[in-house]
Structures are given as C-alpha cells and as structure tokens.
C-alpha cells in the first residue's frame, strides 16, 4: 500500500478522534454534575439550584453539539477510510456501534430535547429524569464505543472464517465475551471516570475564577462544593481503573507497556521510570503484574523473543511471527483457490495450515520488524504527562475539599488560581491518555490481527489529504467558536444574585 495513503488516513482518524475526545469528557462529567444539582433542586424545592443547574446546562449544550458533530465523522470514517478493516472485523465491531445508536444515542438525543425545552412543559420529576437519562445515554454510548475500542486492543470472542474471509462471532457467548471483556471493563471505568474528572475540573475551575474575582460568590461556592467532592471521587476511580488498565495492557499489549516505560530490556524486577534516571525499583513489575517478581519484557525482548510467557511457552521472535503470518496468508489464498477448483483435500490441508498460523495472521502484513515498535518518545512522555497531571488534580481536589470543610476557601487564592489553570491541563491530560492508548498500539488496527497498512481503504492519497485539511479547518473553527461562546457565557455568569435583586425591587 502507498505509505502516504496510510499516513494521511491515520492522521485524519487521529485528528477526528482527538477532536472528538476534546468534547466528550466534559459531556460525561458535566452531565453527572448537572444531574446532582438538579436533584438537589427537586429534593429541596429551592429555585436557586434550578438556576445553578441551568447555567451549567448552557455550558453542556454548547459542548455537546460539537461532540455530536465530530462523533458522526468518526463513525463513518471506519467505512470511508478503513474499508478493509470494516469488512474484516465489521461482524464484531459493527454490533457495538449499532447498539450504541439504538440503545444509547437515541436516549441521549431524545431526553436532551426535554432537558432544554421542557422546563415549563413537563413536571419537575419528568425533567429530572430527562437530565439523568441524557447523562445515562451518554454513558451507555461511551460503554459501547469503548467495547468496540477495547476489542481492537484485545480481540476476544472471535474466529476467522476462511470461507467468508473475515473475523466473526460464534455465538451469543462470543458477544458477551466482547461486551464484557476485562479490557472493555477497565477501559470504560478509566475513560468515564476521566470524563467525570474533566467535568469536575471545569466546574471547579470556573467557580474558582468567580471567587478570585469576588463575583457570583454563592453560585461559585455551591458549584465548587459539588464539583470538588465529585472530583475527588472521580480521582479515586481514575487511579483504581488506571492501575487495572496497566495490568491489562501488560497482559494483552506488552509492546505498548514497554513503550509507556521506554523499556528496551526487560527484567524480573523492572523499575518504574519517573523521568530520566529517577526510577522506583521494581515499580513496573509490581504495577504490571501485581506481584513482587515477574518478568516484564522490553522492546528488544519482544522483537527477539525467547523469554518465557505467563503460560510457560517461549515467546516467538518478531521474524518468526512474521514468517508464520506469511504462511497464514498464503494458506488462505491456497485454501480459497482449492475451494474454487473443487479440490477438497488440498482445501482441508490449507485450512489446517491457516488455523495453525492464525494467531500470527496480522504479522503477515508487517514488512519490517521495526514497524512493530510504536513511536516510543511520544508514548513515553504522553504517559508521564497523563499520570503527572492526574496526580496534580487529585491533590488539588483533596486540598479544595479540606479548605471548604474548614470554611477557608477564599483564604487560599493560590489554590484557586491553580484550580483555574487545571482547566487547560485536564484537556492536555486526557489527550495524552488518548495518545497512550492509541499511538501506543501502533501499528495494529486490531492487535496481532490487522495492521493499519492492511486495514486502509483503496483511495488516492491526495483525496485523503484534502479531507484531512477540510476536517482540520472545520473542527478548528468549531473549537474556536465553542471556546469563544463558552468564555462569553462564563464572563457573563449566571447572574443569579442580580436577578434576585431585580426580583426584590419589582416586589
């Protein structure tokens, strides 16, 4: 395949996914916070909380629209730019996407209309239910998308059928394996809790900005309280799920884990690198295996093979895997030709040969073993940025909860300033997380089954280059518009106190 076509197709998909992932986390997090605030309104019957909720709904609405727009392109790009992928794994991968549409996206988009336009048209209870169902819909949506993504990283519940020339599900059991694979569970928990964290950081950051300017104080304090407690809970969930995620990556994608750590030569007591020579002895082994002793392979080990795998077999070298991959591809071609010519005996032999070498099928499309190594510096630093910033947010939320408990919030202006700066940082953090997950698994579209060079559509590279720039311009424009609108919304503020004063004067 044309290398430039593959690169532009990857660039376009990365662009769309990264832009999409700018907007989705806030939807997930802010949705829950709005739900909590509206619940307080309904329980207490206090009109003030209704206005607090409505302010955050304005922010939610602007952000939601762009998330929806980028999501549409993302779904269809599997077909437009990764057509071979769509055929080869559509039987498994398409189902979560379709279920997302039927079960989750309709729920989200139906109830969001009630959430915005129903304040004076439906009962309080129905409105509250609509707000929660909108958030639940977004969360279900994330579940199914992450099921699909997790399957790409850890393809369980599937077999290759040489007659249809694609990967297929066997039974309802295979679907359950896909839908509830351990990778899907940890990915969902980690990604959704990261979304909660983003929502909390945005709410807390904006509230801190008001407090620093001595504006909207009552509103800011209420929002800060809800946001920081929720943020602290989210931090716990992010850390726990991040830890489980590390173990899963170590098990299913050892090359990705080695890239996270820049680990070239593995050991039984692998250290965890903080930066440079600052290392925690044995840290990586403990994180990746949850045991004191356990071999964590480095990049060279994975390429050269020969180490003992958890199932006690010897790891094959990259060359051996590639040659067995070539055998698998050839066996598939021979099987198809034998079937077409009616040579049943040969077909049986070729099928057996294919099945013997199937675990290495994707390696048949790898031309150079160095292609199996993802861009290590990018992944290494992205991992550190993600973990470092995540730890900072935990600390900030902890301090904020403490100073609020001691009723000393405004005595800590530095903490409030840090909380404001956390808003851009949380986006850098979540993008770094995306880079870890997606760049770290290159060159695989589907781990060990299908590399990106065999997944792409047969297009001309200039066509994809043009659409890349079209999307770059559109998405950037949308981002700028969204940011400007949000800045204006925040600058104007909820004006609850002003409205109250006006109301009093009228009375």
């Amino acid at each position: 395949m044309d290398a430039s076509l593959i690169d532009w197709s990857r660039a376009q998909f990365a662009l769309t996914a990264m832009y999409h992932w700018l907007f989705v986390p806030l939807t997930l997090g802010l949705g829950v916070i709005m739900g909590i605030m509206e619940t307080i309104y309904v329980v207490r019957g206090d009109e003030y909380w209704r206005r607090v909720t409505q302010f955050w709904m304005k922010v939610f609405g602007v952000n939601f629209a762009v998330g929806v727009a980028t999501g549409l392109i993302l779904e269809f790009e599997f077909g437009t730019n990764w057509s071979n992928y769509s055929w080869l794994v559509g039987d498994i991968f398409g189902a979560p996407l379709a279920i997302e549409g039927i079960v989750a996206f309709f729920m989200e988009s139906t109830f969001i209309a009630v959430m915005y336009f129903g304040w004076n048209k439906v009962s309080r209870g129905f409105h509250l239910a609509s707000t929660w169902l909108t958030t639940l819909g977004a969360t279900f949506s994330a579940w199914w998308i992450l099921v699909a993504n997790a399957w790409m990283q850890y393809p369980v519940g599937t077999h290759f059928d040489p007659d249809t020339v694609r990967n297929e599900m066997n039974s309802f059991g295979s679907f359950l394996e896909v839908a509830f694979s351990p990778m899907a569970v940890v990915k969902f928990c980690h990604t959704v809790s990261a979304g909660w964290l983003t929502g909390a950081v945005v709410v807390v950051g904006i509230s801190a900005w008001y407090l620093l300017r001595r504006r909207e104080e009552r509103f800011a304090r209420s929002s800060m309280l809800v946001g920081s407690i929720f943020g602290l809970v989210a931090c716990g969930a992010v850390m726990l799920s991040g830890d489980s995620s590390g173990v899963m990556v170590g098990k299913a994608q050892p090359m990705k884990l080695a890239a996270f750590e820049g680990l070239y030569d593995g050991s039984e007591h692998a250290p965890l690198t903080i930066v440079g020579d600052l290392k925690i002895p044995n840290g990586l082994t403990v994180l990746a295996t949850h045991r004191w002793t356990g071999f964590v392979p480095g990049i060279n080990d994975i390429l050269e093979g020969g180490y003992t795998l958890p199932d006690s077999t010897k790891a094959l070298s990259a060359e051996e895997k590639m040659s067995r991959g070539v055998i698998a591809l050839d066996a598939l071609t021979q099987y198809r030709l034998a079937r077409a010519a009616g040579r049943t005996e040969k077909a049986v032999i070729m099928r057996e040969k294919l099945e013997d070498n199937m675990p290495y099928f994707g390696y048949g499309h790898i031309l150079d073993k160095q292609d199996l190594v993802p861009p290590v510096p990018l992944v290494f630093w992205a991992f550190r940025i993600m973990v470092g910033l995540g730890s900072l947010f935990c600390l900030v939320f902890l301090l904020l909860v403490i100073v609020q408990y001691k009723k000393q919030l405004t005595r800590w202006p530095l903490l409030l300033r840090v909380a404001v700066w956390c808003i851009p940082l949380v986006y850098i953090c979540s993008q770094a997380g995306w880079v870890c997950a997606e760049v770290g698994r290159q060159p695989w579209a589907i781990q060990d089954l299908l590399p990106v060079n065999a997944a792409v559509s047969a297009l001309q590279s200039p066509a994809v280059r043009i659409t890349f720039f079209i999307f770059l311009v559109i998405f950037t424009l949308l981002l700028i518009a969204e940011l400007r609108i949000l800045f204006r919304v925040v600058k104007k503020g909820p004006q609850i106190e002003e409205q109250d004063n006006e109301q009093k004067q009228t009375d």
């Binding site: 057509s83 039927i102 988009s109 336009f117 694609r166 297929e168 599900m169 198809r336 559509s457 424009l477």
Partner: protein, 381 residues
C-alpha cells in the same frame, strides 16, 4: 425456527425501516432549505428555526443508527460503498456536521461566524443533505462502479478487498440522470414534509398561509420527480441473485418484485396514498394541520417498501456496474448468524425506543411554537 435466511431478510427490513424513518426525519433539512423564504421577518424565521431545531437530533441520531446498523448487519456494503463512494459520503457527512452546531451556536454571543453564517450552513445542509442522500439511495437500483475480490487479502502489496473503478469516488453517481431524479425527489419530499410540519408546529397566520401556498408548488415538483423515478424503476432491468450466488440480469426485475411481493406492494401503495392524503387534506381543508402525521407515516412506508424492493426477492441491493458478480446481495454481504441473532435481540428494543421518542415529542410539542414563546426567557436557538 429462525434461520440464517430469515435473519438476513429481517435485517434488510430493519435497514429499510431505518431508511424510511431517516427520509421522514429529513423534514428538518427541508425546513433548513425553506426557512429563509418562508419567514419574512426575524421573528418568523426564529420560530421556524426553533421548530426544526427541537427535532434535528432525531434526524442526526437516525443517520448515525442507520450507519451503525448497516455496518453491523451488512459490513460488506459499509466497506465497499463508504470506502469507494468516498466523496459522495463525505459531502453528506460534512453537510450534517455543519448543521449539528449551527442550531446551538447561531444565537450565541462570540460564535465567530455570526448568526447569518450559521444560518447559511443550515441552508447548505438543507439543500445538500436530502439531495445527496437521495442520489446515494438511487445507486441501490442503478448500481455503482466497484469490484469485490476477497482473494486480495493474501496480497501483501494490495490487500484491500473492495475497490472502486471511478477516480471520482462517488461523484460519478451525479452523472446518472436517474440518480439525480431520485435526489431531487427526496429533496422536494423533505421540503413538502417540512411545510406540513411547520403548519402543525408553528402557530403564526402569515407563516401558515405562506406554507400552504408553497406546499402546492413543492408537492407538484416532488410528484414529478418521484413518479418519474418510480416509472423508471418498474420498467428497468435489475440484477437477480439465486440463493447459491449466481447473478443474472432480469428484465423488469423491480416490477416483478412488486408483483411477487403483495405485502411490499401494499405497503408501497398505502404509503403513497397516505403521503398524498396528507398533502391534499392540508391543501383543501383550511383547519387541517395534521398532514405531517399522514404524509410522514406514508413516507416511512413508501421508502421502506422501496428499499425492500431493492433487497428482497433475490435482488442485488447494490449492483456492480463493473462486474455483476461483485454485486452485493443479502447472501454475500451480511453479517454472520451469531451477529445477526445478537442484533435481532437488540432490535426488540426499537419499539420501546420509538415509544419514548413519541412520548417526549408530544411532551415538547404540546403547545405549538408562538411569537410569545420566542420572546420569553426559555431556552431557544
């Protein structure tokens, strides 16, 4: 006993139904193409935009679900058509992306493009979306220039199974006049449905009388293009497939499909009658405002029936003009039995989804949109 063949037919029905619902919901795009001319002042235009603005997400979600369901149930179509007719699908998607933000952003301070800019994008979506979707759907009958060769997967230098013949990658569909005819048919249908929807949903005497005037003209154009396409359809040959995969050209294939499937013919005729009733009653009876429900349900039935004609009764639903044997049909392009079974269980939720959509729609539309509502402090675009 639920057989694989039954599941294939069932899933083509689900796809056809989603296609029918999508075309009905294109009234949002029809409204986008009309609001500027139907509303003469800002207050009227705002009412019209807010009217469709409360429904755009249904259309958008149906489009996403239509894509997702096609991917899951007929992955070879998804890979061949989307990867091949690249520009056609990209144009459709871009027009919908621009629309997605235009409602929400247009009235917000600091929105970069200004109200006028976003409204132009709504109009672009209103013209491009339905027309190009109609052109894309027409290729289910007129075919496209592609080949499918699964042996290619073993070729390391070019492992792509589906390849497209034309360097225009989908835009060549516009050179077939019948694709354009159906595109225009869908475009004018979307506008007719939008007019009926506005008559039902917006309470403003001027807008209503103008909408009724527009309706006459738009309906004539819709019928002209729609009937021309149907005329062509029942006289054209089609590619037939036998269950073991042999593809042959059959004269009057789609007419035969109608005659051999009375259920589909009944659905088609009932749909057309309902569409016409909705239009005629609205034109003739001054107080009648429920045309959208008659014509809307008629549209769902008609489009569903048309898509069933394309796929059922041993028909290639995506004929290849380059190599008839590469044509896609229910037997060679659908998902595995296990996936179709799983998806069929999920599809049982569809009536439940439709029920809550209907309930929420009614809750929001209990009171039609008025000038007073536009002047109130409630959320609006």
């Amino acid at each position: 006993m639920i057989t694989y063949t039954f599941l294939q037919f069932y899933w083509w029905f689900i796809i056809s139904l989603l296609g029918g619902l999508l075309v009905f919901l294109l009234f949002v795009q029809g409204g986008n193409s009309l609001y500027h001319w139907l509303g003469r002042d800002e207050a009227q235009r705002r009412m019209l935009i807010n009217s469709t603005g409360r429904k755009w997400e249904f259309t958008f979600t149906t489009l996403v679900t239509f894509g997702g369901a096609f991917f899951a149930s007929f992955p070879l179509f998804y890979s061949t058509s989307f990867g091949g007719a690249y520009w056609l699908w990209m144009l459709i998607l871009v027009s919908f992306v621009l629309q997605a933000v235009s409602y929400e952003f247009q009235s917000k301070v600091g929105n970069v493009l200004g109200r006028r800019g976003y409204r132009i994008l709504l109009v672009v979506n209103g013209f491009m979306g339905p027309f190009l979707l109609g052109v894309a759907v027409a290729t289910f009958f007129t075919g496209a220039d592609f080949t499918v060769n699964k042996l290619r997967l073993g070729d390391v230098t070019n492992p792509v199974v589906s390849s497209w013949g034309s360097a225009w990658h989908g835009l060549e569909a516009l050179s077939n006049p019948w694709n354009v005819v159906l595109g225009l048919g869908v475009f004018f249908l979307a506008r007719v449905l939008a007019l009926l929807y506005f008559i039902n949903n917006v309470r403003d005497d001027e807008v209503e009388s103008r909408a009724r005037r527009f309706l006459k003209f738009e309906s004539i154009l819709f019928l002209l293009f729609f009937l021309s396409f149907v005329g062509r359809l029942v006289t054209m040959p089609g590619l037939a497939v036998e269950s073991w995969g042999r593809v042959t050209v059959q004269p009057l294939k789609y007419l035969n499909n109608l005659l051999e499937q009375p259920f589909v013919m009944g659905m088609f005729l009932l749909g057309v009658v309902l569409v016409l009733c909705g239009i005629l009653l609205t034109l003739r009876v001054r107080a009648f405002r429920r045309g959208i429900w008659l014509s809307g349900s008629g549209t769902v039935l008609t489009v569903t029936a048309l898509l069933l004609l394309a796929g059922w009764n041993g028909t290639c639903f995506y004929p290849s003009t380059a190599d008839p044997h590469s044509s896609l049909h229910l037997y060679n392009s659908c998902a595995s039995p296990a996936t179709l079974q799983v998806m069929s269980v999920v599809s049982l939720l569809i009536p439940f989804v439709l029920a809550y959509i209907f309930y929420c729609w009614r809750a929001i539309d209990r009171k039609p949109i008025t000038r007073q509502e536009m002047e109130s402090g409630e959320h609006k675009y």
